[in-house]
Symmetry: C2
Subunit: 337 residues, 2 copies
């Protein structure tokens, strides 16, 4: 198995990507293709110990940044690392997974334009796994790949998320909830009301009903299904709130000498809090629904978080997650068929 | 001026409502109508000093709870405090504002069914004011009154929010942003793309473009416009994330003797953090777009936060906010007319 690494487009490119990938390889068993500027990649590699027979470099000069409209950028930049990496995923039979810290829009668009979806998937979904108060992870999907969804898309998200949580994270009978404005069955907007009716009939998933956004991090749900617009808002609201609270905490400590003194004894506790909040450390967001595994690591990923994203990609590929999603979708009944 | 107080339906009913209202009255100049169970209200009043000539009791035996479907509950319970309070707002010419800690759905539904909207308002909006990192407040609307919106509704929300922030909170030229999945002009779902085009043409508001949800608490925007479904998700995600982080902070402190010791010096700092997070303390969510002022205090409101909600209702009524919203809507041009 080969994992394709896009070394450009991240805040810490290419160093964190090259180091993270080599580090992940040492803990596991796969080949690596590093896509990006050859000289820069070689410079980082020269500082590392690695098995040169299992690492190849694919030269790609161009970078696509977050501010470029994805479709145009992909057409205009055939030599960008994202386009070359995605093409390799399509053309190299050994290549089973791709990890990138680059522009989310460009990665998803390149994947959709240049590679294939799993048979039966109408819309792939960007699917991060969030930390929860109970210590388990909750997959929230879609988080922005599809801003306008149909009810059937949400049903497919439910299946894909259930398969991932069951197969990769070994969650028995994952609880699927529909993100809504209240827990009652009759709550929701036009889209979620229709999706609710479809999900309720679906025997192959463990649908537990509507949920409110204040429960996303509760740990009471394993798969949280929503359209890409609302999911994006939920995900970024979590980020923004966490940032606001940690900043406020710093401010209130700075305001008081007594608190400053007290905080000296709490460095480890604060570090644990920070680790908890930094869900990117635990890997990236999977782009579920494509034939190969795509993991979008955070743009600010450091070596450790990029390494975890690579290990996540390896784990999902090794378990043939795409085949299992295909099987899951084949079990859908009635209108969802 | 008279302010109508719904004393039932809150976690601390009727004590926090009666005490909070009397306390607010002492700081200002208005009459009070306390709606609820007479004996219970009298019992609380007997412990307080107040001007009995300016306080009346309206007997209402029934309570509507959050789990009752609002429309049915309002029809079935004509003697509920919510229905009686809203009717009083409609029928008593002196009554200019209503404050309730009861079921949000029931309060909004009763208001829509039994009182009148401001001329030109298609959909009233539930509009809380959130704390921000810069210390100013940001109004987020709609937060759940209208789960399915049309673009014109969002334009009206922008106007109503701008008028409120300018008149009541004295924000000069309030910055209006459209909640979206990216800051670029072309980002958004079908609804927000259409709303963007309308908002951009509108000269009477200071529309600054799309914004991401991670900036809701940044303090860079004064009025954040969205449909009630997405707004509800954003609001409740903030609540849930704050809860998750404070719980995690407690856990990491408990896990370490050193941190426990340090935390003894930080009690005031933690209390300041808690105060910051508890935006309900500063008042309630205004239901903008109705002829009279409606303030929905939090279900868990205590005496202090209920008092602040009453003062907020008084301030908005005194400034004739509804007339000013009407004028604001009359200034809309083109398709928004």
């Amino acid at each position: 198995m080969k994992i394709v690494i896009d070394t450009l487009g991240g805040d810490n490119s290419p160093s964190a990507m090259v180091k993270g990938a080599i580090s992940a390889q040492k803990e596991s068993d796969f080949d690596i293709a590093l896509v990006g500027r050859r000289a820069d990649i070689e410079e980082v590699l020269s500082t590392l110990e690695y098995d040169s027979g299992r690492v190849e470099i694919v030269d790609a000069e161009d970078e696509i940044d977050c501010n470029e409209p994805p479709v145009e950028a992909i057409k205009k930049k055939p030599n960008s690392s994202i386009v070359k990496a995605v093409k390799m995923l399509k053309e190299d039979e050994e290549a089973k997974a791709l990890v990138s810290s680059g522009s989310t829009g460009a990665v998803l668009t390149a994947a959709v334009l240049l590679t294939k979806r799993i048979a039966g998937v109408n819309r792939p979904a960007l699917s991060p796994i969030l930390p929860t108060m109970k210590g388990n992870g909750a997959m929230l999907l879609d988080c922005g790949a599809n801003v306008d969804c149909k009810p059937i898309n949400l049903v497919q998200f439910a299946v894909m998320g259930s398969v991932y949580m069951r197969e990769v994270l070994k969650v028995e009978n994952p609880r699927v909830a529909l993100l809504s404005n209240g827990v009652e069955d009759n709550k929701g907007c036009a889209l979620t009301k229709e999706a609710f009716a479809l999900l309720k009939e679906e025997k192959s998933i463990n649908f537990v009903g509507n949920m409110e956004a204040r429960e996303i991090l509760s740990g009471d749900y394993d798969v949280i299904v929503t359209d890409g617009f609302a999911g994006n808002i939920a995900l970024k609201t979590i980020e923004g709130t966490a940032k606001c609270i940690t900043k406020t905490l710093k401010d209130v400590i700075k305001d008081s000498k007594s608190a400053m003194f007290g905080s000296l004894f709490m460095k480890k506790a604060f570090r644990n809090l920070k680790d908890f909040l930094d869900y990117n450390k635990r890997g990236g967001a999977v782009f579920l629904g494509m034939q190969q595994v795509l993991v979008k690591a955070h743009g600010a990923a450091n070596e450790e978080s990029f390494k975890n994203a690579v290990l996540q990609a390896y784990g999902a590929s090794k378990l043939d997650i795409s085949d299992k999603i295909k099987e899951g979708l084949e079990q859908l009944g009635g209108e969802n068929r």
